[in-house]
C-alpha cells in the first residue's frame, strides 16, 4: 500500500475542510463548488461578488500549486476530449439538478449530517464506480 498518497490525501482533505469551515464560520456560506458556479451562471443581485472571489481563489491557489508541483495536474488519466466534454455536460446538468457535488454534498453536507447529502453522495459514488466499471470493461480509458 502507498502510505505516502494516503498521507497526502488526508493532508489535502484537512485543507479542504479548513477552507470550507472558514467560509462557513466567517461568511456563513457553504463551500459547494457546483453551487457557487451555479450562482454565477444565474446571478442574483448582491450574491455574485463572494462567488466570483471564491472562484478567483480557486484559480490563484491552482496557479501557485501548478508552479510548485506541475505533475499534480497530469491529465493523462482523462479520456479523449470528446468524452471529457460529455463528462462536463453530465457533471453540469447533474450537479444543478441534484443541488451539489463532491464538495457541497460530500464534504459540507455530510459534515452537517444532512440526509439529502448522504443520499446524494451514495448515489454519485455508486454511479461513478459503475461508470468506471463499464468504461474499463469496454476497454476504454
Amino acid at each position: 500500500m502507498d502510505f505516502v498518497s494516503f498521507g497526502w490525501a488526508l493532508a489535502g482533505g484537512v485543507m479542504i475542510g479548513a477552507a470550507a469551515a472558514l467560509l462557513l464560520a466567517l461568511n456563513g456560506k457553504i463551500a459547494g463548488v457546483s453551487g457557487i458556479l451555479g450562482g454565477l451562471v444565474a446571478p442574483r443581485r448582491g450574491d455574485v461578488a463572494w462567488r466570483a472571489l471564491f472562484v478567483v481563489g480557486l484559480l490563484a491557489g491552482g496557479l501557485v500549486a501548478f508552479v510548485v508541483a506541475p505533475e499534480r495536474f497530469d491529465a493523462s488519466g482523462a479520456p479523449a476530449l470528446p468524452l471529457v466534454a460529455i463528462a462536463g455536460v453530465l457533471v453540469g446538468v447533474g450537479t444543478r439538478i441534484g443541488n451539489g457535488c463532491t464538495s457541497g454534498h460530500g464534504v459540507c453536507g455530510i459534515s452537517r449530517l444532512a440526509p439529502r447529502s448522504i443520499v446524494a453522495t451514495l448515489a454519485f459514488m455508486l454511479t461513478g464506480a459503475l461508470t468506471v466499471l463499464v468504461v474499463r470493461s469496454l476497454g476504454g480509458a
Binding site: 469551515a21 456563513g28 462536463g88
Partner: protein, 141 residues
C-alpha cells in the same frame, strides 16, 4: 476595513486554500479519481482520506457554528433548507456520478486545473458551465 471587504477576502482565501487542498490530495489528477472509483478493479482507496480529513475538520467547526446565531462577518448563515429525498436529488446525483467517473473531474478540481492550462480542464469546465447555464435557463421559464 468594512465587513464586505473582509467577507471578500475570506472568500478569496477559502477558494485558494480549497484549491491547494485539492492539489495536495491528488484530486486534480483524473487517474487518481478514476482509480478511486475503480472499486472492482485496481482500487486505489487513498482518496477516501480526502473525505475523512475534510469532514473531520468541517464537522468540528460546524458543531461550533450551530451554537451561534450568526457567522462572524455576516448577518445570517446561508444553509440549505430543503429536506425531501426526492427523485430529482437522486437523479441529479446519479447523472453527476456518471460524468465524474467518465472524466475523472468534479467541479472543484476541474476549475482548479484550469490554472495548469490543460486542454482537458478547459474542455471539461467549458462544457460543465455551459450545461449549468442551459439548466438555469430552462428552469427559469
Amino acid at each position: 476595513m468594512d465587513a464586505g471587504t473582509k467577507r471578500g477576502l475570506v472568500a478569496l482565501a477559502s477558494g485558494a486554500l480549497f484549491a491547494i487542498g485539492l492539489v495536495v490530495s491528488g484530486m486534480t489528477q483524473p487517474a487518481n479519481v478514476i482509480g478511486f472509483l475503480d472499486v472492482t478493479g485496481d482500487w486505489r482507496p487513498a482518496l477516501m482520506f480526502v473525505m475523512v480529513g475534510a469532514i473531520a475538520v468541517n464537522a468540528a467547526v460546524y458543531r461550533w457554528v450551530r451554537g451561534r446565531r450568526a457567522p462572524v462577518l455576516a448577518e445570517t448563515f446561508s444553509l440549505p433548507t430543503q429536506r425531501d429525498l426526492d427523485a430529482r436529488l437522486i437523479a441529479g446525483a446519479a447523472i453527476f456520478g456518471v460524468g465524474w467517473g467518465l472524466g475523472g473531474y468534479c467541479p472543484g478540481p476541474g476549475v482548479t486545473a484550469l490554472a495548469s492550462g490543460s486542454l482537458e480542464a478547459v474542455v471539461f469546465v467549458g462544457s460543465m458551465v455551459a450545461a449549468m447555464w442551459v439548466v438555469a435557463r430552462i428552469e427559469k421559464r
